[in-house]
């Protein structure tokens, strides 16, 4: 079923790329794996063996007023038409990137090999991030109120003798 599937794994710091490539090679032995890594990424021997293609993740420097390098990079990813794009953390930046790359499917691979589906379109990714942010702001306000309106009752601590004893 998986013959010919192109699966891309977007790098993250640490040894996560290698283990993600190993996991995907085991789960989908016939798929063609592609690693998206920064230009100076020191590839390990097994990363070289596991991935058939390498793409340099080179977003370049972009700003809100000068988004062209980012848009070029997104266009490049879209042209690849991945069947599955895997990110290794579900950070807002990576979710938005996975959505903007418009693969057939996008997922976040957790360290314990669980694949969490994430939106494979930019509007879907934006909706997910917005919903999370809304919930986050409400909870943050609730915690802030709790902390600023309540005071912790301290237990009686006679430290002087004990500190002396501990210092001996």
């Amino acid at each position: 079923m998986s013959a010919g599937r192109r699966i891309a794994v977007y790098w993250s710091p640490g040894r996560s790329l290698e283990s993600a490539l190993e996991t995907m090679a085991q789960c989908e032995p016939d798929a063609r794996l592609c690693a998206i890594v920064p230009p100076a990424y020191p590839l390990s021997e097994s990363e070289r063996l596991l991935a058939r293609d390498f793409i340099h993740a080179d977003e370049g420097r972009y700003t809100f007023r000068h988004p062209w390098p980012l848009l070029r990079w997104m266009r490049r990813l879209r042209r690849e038409r991945f069947d599955l794009l895997i990110v290794l953390f579900d950070s807002p930046r990576l979710i938005a990137m996975a959505g903007a790359a418009r693969p057939r499917k996008a997922a976040c691979l957790l360290p314990n090999r669980v694949l969490l589906t994430v939106p494979a379109s930019l509007p879907g990714a934006m909706a997910l991030l917005l919903a999370r942010r809304l919930k986050g702001f409400c909870v943050y306000a609730l915690i802030g109120l709790t902390i600023h309106l309540s005071k912790t009752r301290l237990p009686a601590i006679d430290e002087t003798d004990r500190i002396r004893k501990f210092s001996e």
Binding site: P38, L43, L110, N112, L116, T146, K151, T152, R153, I163
Partner: protein
Amino acid sequence: MRIAFADLLFSWPPQGGADADVFHTCREIQAIGHDVHLFAAHHIKSRERTGFDPAALPFPSTRLDFDDAAMNRKHVPARFREAVDAWRPDAVFFAFGYFLKPYVMEALAQYPSIARFYAYEPFCPRDLRRFKDGDPCPFDYLRTPDLCRRCALKSLAPEIRSWRFLAWGRDYWAARAFMPGYHARLVAALRNCRAVVVYNEMTRRLFAGFNENVFVVPGGVEAGKYTVCNKPESRPMVVLMTGRVEDPVKGLDCLVRAAVRLRRLRDDFEVWVTRSDWPDAPPGFKATGWLTPEALRDLYGQADICIVPSIWDEPFGMAAVEAMVAGRPVCASRVGGLQEIVVDGETGFLFDREDDATLADCMNRLLDDAALRKRMGMAGRARAESEYDWPRIVASHYPRILERLSS
């Protein structure tokens, strides 16, 4: 004695010093004749923890799986209580955990217990480091809870606002650690323990007033897996920094400053660091990438000197012990547990936090003198074998701690 180990974050293969510590402590306590059983929580949607396969461990273990909904202050203690009660232990050893740990300690309060702390978990709800704005923090949650609650919220704000948690933030929310009542629960849990085990003297002193039976037990290495290879004299010499060097508290900036300073005097050395990418590395610096434990052991063999320039109060300092057991001299900053590992002038040199000038001097001295490097490396190896080999650690520290359980 039947000892149940309760851990809320255990992963194997290890994802940090705490996992290795739990593994070896269980194994060696079993080896000295006690029955042990590890009960460990695994959050199945964890973004950091891989969990473990109970069949792959050399001692009995039970993995308690939790999904998002069950990873909270009610279900987690209840599952632990149920599992531990069924095994009927004589005592419980509370291993690694963040904010949910006091709830589990409370649920198992009827057993004589030991609590192990691996960093500054009870003292810093911000990030367990007691390190803020580039300096060690003078406050601690047990004594200044309201101040620390505000600091923690400020630090966790990005995680909470984006509703995307790592384990620390998720535990903070799951345990409702921002509530004023959490402090009393933590203090009660600490006071109920028969013994508390920590990594260094500084942490021991912090427990004053909350538990009087605090024992310092270092972490360790498997000394047998390391061989001391006599590196042939070759240029350039290699100065190595290992560990999570991307983390600013590990002090890579200090090493860079020291190396740049030293390059004005000599250029016969390279600095290798274990980070995955370093596009703007200064000349003479090299990123080795992340390495497997085997590859890391080989890397120590290629190094001439190892540097541990941490700027936070490292609770232990595994990188220093690994370098010592590999027979390499260590230059380490005078912080936390590191200053208890490296014997200044004998197994390496100690320098003050962020003092790149002294670090450059120490490096220069060692790079100049092959005999000194060899002598310090051998002294480090001997110290690591006698003080930091796992069977020795458990045999020399735990019998008197376990005595507290039966007293």
